[in-house]
Structures are given as C-alpha cells and as structure tokens.
C-alpha cells in the first residue's frame, strides 16, 4: 500500500465518520464539528495526492487547494457557529431535526 493510498483511505474514513456524525447528532455544534472532520478527511486525501508526481518535491497544486479549502472551511465554520448561536438565542435550543421544519412566514417589521 503506497503512502497515497493510505492517506486516501484514512481521509475517506474521516469523511465517512464526519458524515455519520452530521446525520445522527442533533446538536448543531456536533454537526458543525462533524463537517470539520469530514473536510479534514478531504484535505488528507488532497495532501496525499501531492505525492503522486514522485521525486523529492511534491506537487504544489494540491497544497494550494488544501489551503484554499481551509480558508473556505474556516470561514464557513465561523458563519455556521454564528448562526447556531443565533438559533440558540432565538429558540433556546441548538438542536435541529425534522420537527423544526416550519413553513410559516410572516415578514417581520
């Protein structure tokens, strides 16, 4: 098993773990963390792929991608946390499930 394959496998495993948590954990914080774990898995795969060109210098492009990905993930995590906090203030709970689907809208203000 090459190093790339190992990274890919571990990354995939992390991705699935995150996916599982996202779906089963009702708490919003858990869900956000789960997404972070999933994204770490994806980055693992990307970093591993950088080795595929062989030689001492790995392919820089995947690294650039991972960096971009981290930026995206960090900002979206921040946004998600802010949103979760706001939901907590509005509803008194930070859990989320089908029961929350309410279809009413009246334009406030």
């Amino acid at each position: 098993m090459s190093q790339t394959d190992l990274y890919t496998l571990v990354g995939s495993a992390l991705f699935v773990i995150g996916l599982y948590a996202l779906m089963t954990r009702p708490h919003l914080l858990h869900k956000v963390l789960a997404l972070n774990i999933s994204s770490s898995g994806v980055f693992f795969v990307l970093v591993g792929i950088a080795r595929r060109v062989g030689g001492p210098v790995p392919d820089p492009l995947p690294h650039a991608m991972v960096l971009t990905g981290i930026v995206v993930t960090v900002s979206s995590t921040a946004f998600a946390l802010a949103l979760a906090k706001r939901i907590y203030t509005e509803t008194g709970t930070a859990a989320l499930d089908a029961a929350d689907v309410d279809v009413g809208e009246s334009l406030g203000g």
Binding site: L19, L22, M23, T24, L96, D97, A98, V101
Partner: protein
C-alpha cells in the same frame, strides 16, 4: 307579355304569401296583412294559368333551385291556389280566435304549399314541403287540442326525417353518384314512407283523423284539400316511375292502396264526428290514388298514365273534400240546415263518382291506369275498384246523416246563424270548381276522358256502386241497432289511439313533475374525494420522513454506494 315571364317570377308569386306571413308578424303591418290573406294565393293561381311550360335554374337560391312548369305542377298549383283562396275567404268570414296569429301561420303554410308545386329539385321541394308541413302544426293545434297537435307533429317530424333521408338518395343520384341496388331501393322505400305519411297511407295515417277534427275549418279544408295533395305531387315527382328500379315496389304499393281504400271506408262509417268521417274518406281516396301509382310503378309503360290519373284524381278529390269541410261547418253554424246538406250532396256524390261529376271522370282515368296493371292485379282491381265506390257512397251517406242529424248549436247567439257573404262565397267557389274543373281542364287527355265517361258503359259503371251503396246505407239506417252498436266502436285515432293516449299521459306527467320540482340548487363539492385526501395525507406523512436528517443521510449514503458500485462495474 306573359310569355316572357321567367318561371322564377311564378315562384316569386307563389311566395307572395310569405310576405303576408311576415306582415302578420310585424305589429305595424298586422291588420293590413291579415286583410290581404284572401288575395295571397291569387298570384300563384294566375301563374298557374299564364306561365308557359319551361325550366329555369336559380343557382343562388338554397343549394341551387330548379323551377319547372309542366302539366302536373300546373295542375297542383291551380288546385292549391283555389283551395287556399277559398280557405282564406272562409277564415275571413269566420275568423278563429287570435286571427292574426292564425293568419300568419296560415300564410306561411300556404307559401310552402304553393311554392313546392313550382320546383322539381329535391332540396327546394323539401324546403317548401317543410315550410308547409311544420307551420300547419299551428293550424291543427289552433283550437287548443294538444293531443291532436302532438300527433300531427310527431308524424310530420318523422315524415320529414324519412323524406330528407330519401332525398339524400335522390340528390345523390342527381349528383351522378352511382347508387347500388340496395341503396336505390332504400331511397324509394323512404320516399314512399315519407309521402305516405302525408297522404295518410294505410298504417301511416294516425295523425289524419285527429288533426282534421281538431283544426279550424279553414285549416282543415286547406289540409285535406291541398296540403295532403303535396304528398301525391312528391310521389309523382320523385318516384322512379317508368324505370326498372321501381318495379319491385309496384305490388306493395298497390296492396297498401287497396288496404287504405277499404280500411278508410270501414273505420270511417263507424265514426260519430262528420270531420272524422271526412278524414277516413280521405284515407280511402288516397288509397285509390296509391293504387294507380302502384300500377304505374309495377308496369313502367303505365307510369305516364298513372301520373295523369293521380293528378286528375288529386284535383277532383281536393276540391270536393275542401267543399265538404267548409259545407260541414256552414251546416253546423246554421239552424236551417237543409240547404247546406243539399249543397253538400254535390261534392259527396262527386266523391262517390256519380256520372257527370268530376268523380266519374277521375275514376275513369284511374280505371284506365289500373286496367294496365300487370298479372293478377289487373283482374283483382277490376273487381275491387267498384267495391270501393260502394264504400265511398256509404261514407258519404254516413257523413250527410251525421251533418243532418247533428244537434243545433247550443247558444245560437254566439255563432252566426247564416253563413254570410264571404263564407257562402268561399263555399260556392269550391262547389263551382268541383262542378266545372274537369270540364274545362285544358288537356286533350282530360277531354277524351270526359267524353268517354259519358258513354253508356261508363255511366252504368259509375252508377251501380252508388245505387248499391245507397241501398246498403238505407238498410243500415233502417236496422238501427247496427248503427248503435258500431257507431263510435273505433276511436278517431283507431290503431294509434293507445299510443296517443300514452303520449298524452306522459306529457301530462312531465308537466306535473316540472311544476312540482323546485329549481335545482348548486351543491358545492369538496376539492378532492375522500379517498384522494386520505392518500394525500399519507403522502404528507412520508414527506416528513424525507425531511429528517437520518433519512437524508441514508439516502445520500445509499446513492453514493449505488453510484460507486455502478462506477466499479463500468
């Protein structure tokens, strides 16, 4: 000047009554139009006398109209002109209730009747035939006899439908379309049935007695004297006489004719109302005409003779029958009845075929035609025709008896006790026509027949059935029990009486139920049925399941696995 009159000018003259009808409909011209009614048929009468023979095509009218003046059409036009004029005069003398209303329909039917004598293409003939037959409903139902009106309308509508179907076949042939043998026969059968209704052929006569009895006298005279003759004209114009297609029908037609001739006489003498007796007399007389036509169909070379016979007989019968109807009414209106009964005797003996009357000549021509009937028919008719004359004599005797013995009007003040100038004039016109027409008939055939009828052989042939009939009548009268037992045994509508009763009952029930049923109220219904909404609710429950994270995750996972598997396989 007259000779340059195109034939369609004559058609226009026949349609003058249409203007009168329109005038009756408009409030402003109502009174004038009503007074013009007695003159409405005169232009047509003039045309019948003055317009020369010839054909002209009016392309723009209907689906193309063929106006044709020939001896046959001229005879019927003249007959109709005289009868409608007399009837209009009588209507003016004794106006029915709502006279303008009556006059309008009267004029409309008149227009149709006069115009149909001038055209020979099926579409136009049908047009005018309908213009005559349908408005006549208003005349029949004018005195409020709904049952009679219903019978008239039912038979007329069915007749019109049969006629139009028959005319499809005739029209198709005129278009040059090849008809198969079956279709050709169907066409002839349809025409026979349709016109058969109009002339009260045996089995198709159900409307005639009730309608004649229900209609005001002027209308009955027009109906019996002229409108029903249109059926004869139709048969003359459109049956394939003289051609092979018709031969197969000859025997059937003759058989129906014989049946009608006897049936009319037998049922007629049992009637208790004079007008109904006259109606059955018509059925019987049309039977004779039918026999002639049947003979013409069966033997193509006889056809032209049959046409002449039917024409002459139709003219004779029309005038006589109209005179009988009007005389009957005059007799009913007056307390001094004997002059009227004497006057009535003239057309009555004419119908019976007494020598020196038109009847004798008509019967002679008829005999000439049937004498050439093929095979066994020839002999049978030789025997049967005189017997029908006995029947007619009996019928006329019964009629005169009923007129003479009828009770006087209940309240003489309400009805005129004397006929008055117009009414008497109308009758006199008809009586004169009955007497004179065949003697002035402008054709060599007729003159020949008139002369022949004066030979001793034919005089005797004409006289003995009448004598026999008179003796029988006197015998029956003397044996009063027979009269009492059979008088009224058969209702006026005879075999159709149960049907008419059923129809009357049904109409009554429908009216009652309509009166008693409230207007239907709109009932709002739910958007979806119960089953539908239960299914929708179930769908809603499922959807909540789809909205759950766990379901979504499973679905995403399953989809991933599925696609990966597909990828691996690919």
């Amino acid at each position: 000047m007259v000779t340059i009159l195109p034939a369609w000018m004559a058609l226009a003259a026949a349609l003058v009554p249409l203007l009168v009808a329109a005038g009756c409909a408009l409030p402003a011209t109502r009174d004038v139009a009503r007074r013009m009614l007695v003159f409405a048929a005169l232009p047509a009468l003039a045309a019948a006398v003055l317009v020369p023979d010839g054909t002209s095509q009016i392309d723009w009218l209907f689906v193309g109209t063929l106006v044709d003046f020939d001896a046959t059409g001229r005879a019927f036009l003249a007959l109709s002109g005289v009868i409608w004029t007399a009837a209009a005069l009588y209507a003016a003398a004794h106006p029915p209730q709502r006279p303008t209303w009556f006059s309008g329909w009267f004029a409309l039917a008149m227009a149709g009747n006069l115009a149909l004598c001038c055209v020979t293409d099926p579409a136009s003939f049908y047009t005018f035939f309908a213009m005559m037959a349908l408005p006549a409903y208003a005349l029949v139902a004018h005195e409020g006899d709904r049952s009679a009106g219903r019978a008239y309308m039912a038979f007329t509508v069915v007749g019109e439908a049969l006629l139009v179907c028959g005319f499809f076949v005739v029209g198709a042939a005129a278009f040059g379309i090849e008809l198969g043998p079956v279709l050709g026969s169907v066409g002839i059968g349809l025409l026979l049935a349709a016109f058969g209704i109009k002339i009260g052929a045996f089995g198709l006569h159900g409307w005639m007695p009730v309608s004649y009895a229900a209609a005001p006298t002027a209308a009955a005279a027009a109906l019996a004297g002229s409108m029903s003759k249109a059926g004869v004209l139709g048969l003359l114009r459109f049956l394939p006489g003289g051609e092979r297609e018709g031969v197969a029908f000859g025997a059937v037609v003759m058989a129906f004719g014989v049946a009608a001739a006897f049936y009319g006489a037998i049922v007629g003498v049992m009637q208790t109302k004079p007008k109904v007796v006259l109606a059955y007399s018509s059925i019987s007389q049309f039977g004779l005409i039918t026999i002639a036509l049947g003979a013409g169909l069966a033997e193509p070379v006889v056809w032209l003779l049959a046409v002449t016979a039917a024409t002459v007989y139709a003219v004779h019968h029309g005038l006589a029958k109209a005179a009988l109807f009007i005389g009957e009414d005059i007799a009913a209106r007056t307390t001094r009845r004997w002059p009227a009964v004497v006057g009535l005797a003239l057309p009555a003996v004419a119908l019976a075929g007494a020598p020196l009357t038109s009847g004798a000549v008509a019967k002679l021509v008829l005999k000439e035609a049937t004498g050439l009937a093929p095979g066994a028919w020839h002999g049978a008719l030789e025997t049967l025709l005189p017997v029908t004359a006995v029947g007619t004599t009996l019928l006329m005797a019964r009629f005169l008896y009923l007129v003479a013995t009828r009770k006087a009007p209940d309240a003489p003040g309400t009805r005129a006790t004397a006929p008055g100038m117009l009414g008497a004039g109308s009758w006199m016109l008809l009586l004169a026509a009955v007497t004179a027409t065949l003697w002035v008939w402008p054709s060599a055939d007729a003159r020949y027949a008139v002369e022949k009828s004066l030979t001793a052989h034919y005089l005797w042939l004409a006289v003995w059935p009448i004598l026999l009939g008179c003796i029988a009548a006197v015998a029956v009268w003397a044996a009063g029990t027979m009269t009492r037992r059979f008088a009224g045994a058969i209702p006026p509508a005879d075999m159709y009486a149960p049907v008419l009763r059923l129809a009357d009952g049904a109409a009554e029930r429908r009216d009652r139920s309509v009166r008693e049923t409230p207007a239907p109220q709109a009932v709002p219904t739910p958007v979806a049925g119960r089953a539908g909404s239960a299914l929708l609710d179930r769908a809603g429950v499922f959807e909540i399941g789809f909205l759950a994270w766990a379901t979504a995750a499973s679905a995403a996972g399953a989809l991933t696995v599925l696609l990966l598997l597909l990828a691996a396989r690919g």
